[in-house]
């Protein structure tokens, strides 16, 4: 097991190098001069431009810039943004916010998704099944910004249950509403996934055998039906958490959440190479770790899966 984890982490190294190189190159190749853009309408003197280019090492060839960035990682220096902030402090201020948001969404979608999916699967063809299915279809069909604006209008401007935008420091309470919006799309997928999986498991021979040996329904459902149905759901939730960590640009934009999505969007617009690449590196790392955790969770859920390497 430890060997397996070690090799998986070893695999992460070429993946990280590849992605950072690619992203760095893409930012480098973007049209327009980022330094000129900083000055807006004003015209800088050539000396000013030269000084700034020197400061951000923009006058060096691409590969040198990249290697300088890589070298910086090892001493904890990720460069500075064009507004003068160290990139590392931007990372430190945005990731915890997005993490909190993702956590809220994750808990909501897991609880409601699996709960409703299980209910729907057990009552296949019944009234509650049809209502839940129709509800999930509605959630899937609505674009996320529609849900966001409708909820924002109803729950903040009309009833003021929540604050319309996220305040300073992004406290938990302010993140609940964006969390609900972020969870809606996934909750529908999880309902459907759980439902299908539960129906499939219910038809398995071992479920009949479990009843046959005298177990009550209250035991068969959680122990023999739900647990066996969870593997595809876990996969989905795992990748979904990855997607949410990468930043929900739309949701963060609407609720003014100072998280990863919004910051990254701005950095891309301003061709800030070091900022973009630093963010992406952290994201790739998170993604890889999450994937590893999901794979390890498989082995816990299904003893037939054992990792040897």
């Amino acid at each position: 097991m430890a060997r397996y984890i070690f090799f998986r982490l070893l695999q992460a190294i070429p993946v990280l190098l590849g992605t950072t190189l690619l992203i760095y190159f893409m930012v480098f190749a973007m049209p327009g001069d980022p330094i000129l853009a900083l000055f807006g309408d004003k015209t800088p003197t050539p000396a000013q431009l030269e000084a700034l280019r020197e400061q951000y090492h923009l006058n060096e060839p691409f590969i040198m810039q990249y290697l300088r960035f890589l070298g910086g990682i090892f001493v904890g220096d990720l460069g500075t943004t064009y507004s003068g902030q160290p990139v590392i402090s931007v990372l430190q201020s945005t990731f915890p916010v997005t993490l909190r948001l993702a956590l809220i969404a994750l808990i909501l979608e897991t609880v409601f998704g699996i709960g409703l999916g299980l209910l729907s699967g057990l009552r296949k063809g019944g009234a509650s099944d049809n209502i839940i299915l129709a509800f999930s279809l509605l959630l899937i069909s609505l674009p996320i910004f529609v849900i966001a604006f409708v909820l924002q209008y109803l729950l903040t401007f009309q009833t003021s249950i929540f604050r319309p935008t996220v305040g300073e420091g992004a406290p938990w309470g302010d993140l609940i509403l964006p969390g609900i919006v972020l969870a809606t799309a996934s909750v529908a997928q999880i309902i459907r996934l759980t439902r299908t999986s539960v129906i499939e498991t219910m038809g398995q021979d071992f479920v009949r055998t479990a009843y046959g040996k005298g177990l009550s329904r209250g035991r068969v459902i959680p122990v023999h039906i739900l647990r066996n149905s969870l593997i595809p759901v876990v996969t989905y939730i795992g990748t979904d958490l990855g997607v949410m960590m990468v930043g929900a640009t739309v949701t963060e934009g609407i609720f003014n959440v100072p998280g990863v999505g919004r910051t990254l969007f701005q950095a891309i617009k301003q061709s800030e190479g070091p900022t973009v690449v630093s963010f992406v590196t952290v994201m790739v790392l998170l993604y890889l770790i999450l994937n590893l955790l999901i794979d390890l969770l498989y082995a816990v859920l299904d003893p037939r899966i054992r990792y040897v390497k």
Binding site: R3, G203, Q204, D205, F206, R208, T209, A210, Y211, G212, K213, G214, L215, S216, R217, R219, V223, H224, R227, N228, L301, D302, P303, R304, R306, V308, K309
Partner: protein
């Protein structure tokens, strides 16, 4: 007279389907006294399992009881609430399901699943007590090292071991009645025998009444005093086993008795293809008449013509698999060990053995689906060992397979016509019109109507599907057909028909068959020569008559003894 333990009267069971209601069981009456054993026999779809599972209300899907009564130990079972039924299951009526592979939950340990049964039925309380009793249950069921294996998972158990676990769970609470639904159909004959012997002694000791469901008449007669034969949801014949076997009244039972390979093979064996035997067979209109005649005819022909050239020569072949161990080291596993035999053109050689004996590996190597570790296989004198992909492709025109599972081996999204014609497409034989004609010709050869051309596999029965698989194998006019358990998944009557078809085709097209099977009974009716394999080694190779009449090896004798029904005197 006292009321029997189980009394079923006028039982009616129906399934709701998209095309309306289908009546699965009609007017079934059954009586079973305490401690008695009753066998219900019939082909799949006859309603035998439906009847049995309805007793404990475990009908699949949309099935429900529409009429009649089931009385058990003085109580009416059809009107019980869910809670009351949960108390009856396990405690008073045990259940042993059919397929040991799918009936244990793969994600929980064996110990967990047995302990769960023990706890649910209130046999023991407290963690230690429950565990102690669970180990006892497994030991009683014949798992000697139960304490050590409690923590293992179902996939670490063999089929036979899992069946023991299921039997143990069924009997855990010492129920008055045990419903055993084809408890050993998925197992090798030798394992089947051991497990049924064990089940018999256990239930006798405990005084448990048993309802034994099976499609094998020989097995039923051997294991139960009373037989009930079901056909299309009705009981067509009931009574003492020996009587039914020796003097079947209903035409369906007669056919069943005639077709049961376990019984038929013995009949041929004892009479050794004597003419008197054939006359009896014709009179009763049995299906195996042609098989016997064909076998006799072939033997005669062979005697006249003398030895024929070899179609397949297997020469000192070994197959070693590398198996990964937990630590990452690979350990060699020898699946086939220095095996040599030859198959003459136009004859049938059967390779027999238990699962794991390496018989399928031989077939896969012959078909070029598996590489040969050492030694050589020659087909028509052409060596297989050094063949590249091109050569292999050519070879496959000469040699085609038919596999066991007629459900898994046909692509459900392709029409029957496309499935049969695909080999012609792949090997670019003729144009589309001539291919179409060839497919029609093939349908005719395997006795399927031409209308099948545009239909899809899911519309066909198991027997029809296997005919399609045979037609596909014949498409390229091969000389050799490798049949890997080709009839094992079929009901006895259908099995007999397919075997007959194979025999006819062999005569007509001079085919050479390599027949892989674990079922010795089938071997007797189709094979000229038999190779018996045990753990990768060839233990005996001889003509079928020699093997059956005078087995040299103890292992072969054991296989022969395990054919169900071998202890019953037949009326024929």
């Amino acid at each position: 007279m006292t009321e029997p333990l189980l009394q079923i009267r006028d039982l009616e069971i129906a399934f709701k389907t998209q095309n309306g209601i289908v009546q699965a069981v009609r007017g079934v009456n059954l009586d079973l006294g305490a401690g008695e054993t009753l066998a219900i026999v019939g082909e799949s779809g006859s309603g035998k399992s439906t009847t049995a599972t309805s007793i404990i209300n475990l009908l699949p899907g949309t099935g429900h009881i529409t009429g009649g009564s089931i009385r058990f130990d003085g109580r009416e079972l059809t009107s019980l609430s869910r809670k009351e039924m949960e108390n009856i299951r396990g405690r008073e009526i045990g259940f042993v399901p059919q397929d040991p592979m799918s009936n244990l939950n793969p994600v929980w340990s064996i110990g967990f699943q047995v302990e769960e049964a023990v706890r649910a039925n209130g046999i023991a309380t407290g963690r230690k007590e429950v565990k102690k009793r669970a180990i006892e249950v497994l030991k009683e069921a014949g798992l000697a090292d139960a304490d050590r294996r409690m923590k293992q998972y179902p996939h670490q158990f063999s089929g036979g071991m899992r069946q023991r676990v299921l039997i143990g769970m069924g009997l855990a609470a010492n129920p008055k009645l045990l419903i055993a639904d084809e408890p050993t159909s998925a197992l090798d004959v030798t394992v089947q025998r051991v497990i049924l012997d064990h089940l018999e002694s256990l239930t006798q000791e405990l005084g448990t009444a048993v309802i034994f469901i099976t499609h094998d008449l020989g097995l039923a007669a051997e294991r139960a005093k009373h037989l009930v034969v079901m056909y299309k949801g009705r009981i067509v014949e009931a009574g003492p086993s020996v009587e039914i076997l020796q003097n079947p009244q209903h035409p369906y039972t007669k056919r069943l008795v005639a077709a049961a390979p376990s019984l038929a093979s013995r009949r041929i064996q004892s009479a050794d293809a004597q003419l008197a035997e054939l006359e009896v067979s014709t009179q009763t209109g049995t299906v195996d008449f042609d098989l016997v005649a064909a076998a006799a005819g072939r033997a005669e022909l062979k005697a006249k013509q003398g030895p024929r050239p070899n179609a397949i020569e297997v020469d000192d072949v070994t197959k070693v698999f590398k198996i990964r161990q937990g630590s990452g080291r690979a350990v060699d596993f020898t699946a086939v060990d220095k095996m040599s035999f030859a198959v003459e053109k136009g004859t049938t050689t059967a390779i027999v053995g238990e699962s794991g004996s390496g018989k399928s590996t031989i077939a896969r190597m012959l078909l070029g689906l598996e590489t040969i570790t050492s030694g050589d296989i020659r087909v028509d004198g052409e060596s297989l060992a050094g063949l590249d992909n091109k050569g292999l492709f050519k070879l496959r025109r000469k040699m085609q397979p038919v596999f066991q599972d007629p459900y898994g081996s046909l692509n459900p999204l392709q029409s029957i016509g496309n499935i049969i014609g695909e080999p012609l497409d792949v090997h670019k034989v003729g144009d589309s019109k001539s291919r179409r004609n060839r497919v029609n010709e093939l349908l005719d050869q395997v006795s399927l109507p031409k209308a099948m051309f545009g239909r899809y596999p899911n519309e066909l029965s198991g027997g029809q599907r296997q005919r399609v698989a045979i037609a596909r194998a014949l498409a390229l006019k091969p000389e050799i057909i490798v049949l890997d358990e080709a009839v094992s998944a079929l009901d006895v009557l259908v099995q007999a028909q397919v075997l007959q078809l194979l025999a006819e085709l062999q005569e007509e097209l001079e085919l050479t068959y390599l027949f892989i099977t674990h079922d010795l009974a089938v071997v007797r009716v189709i094979a000229d020569n038999v190779c018996v394999m045990e753990q990768g080694k060839l233990v005996e190779a001889a003509t079928t008559d020699e093997v059956f009449g005078n087995p040299k090896m103890e292992y072969t004798q054991r296989l022969l003894d395990a054919i169900p029904g071998s202890g019953i005197k037949m009326g024929l």
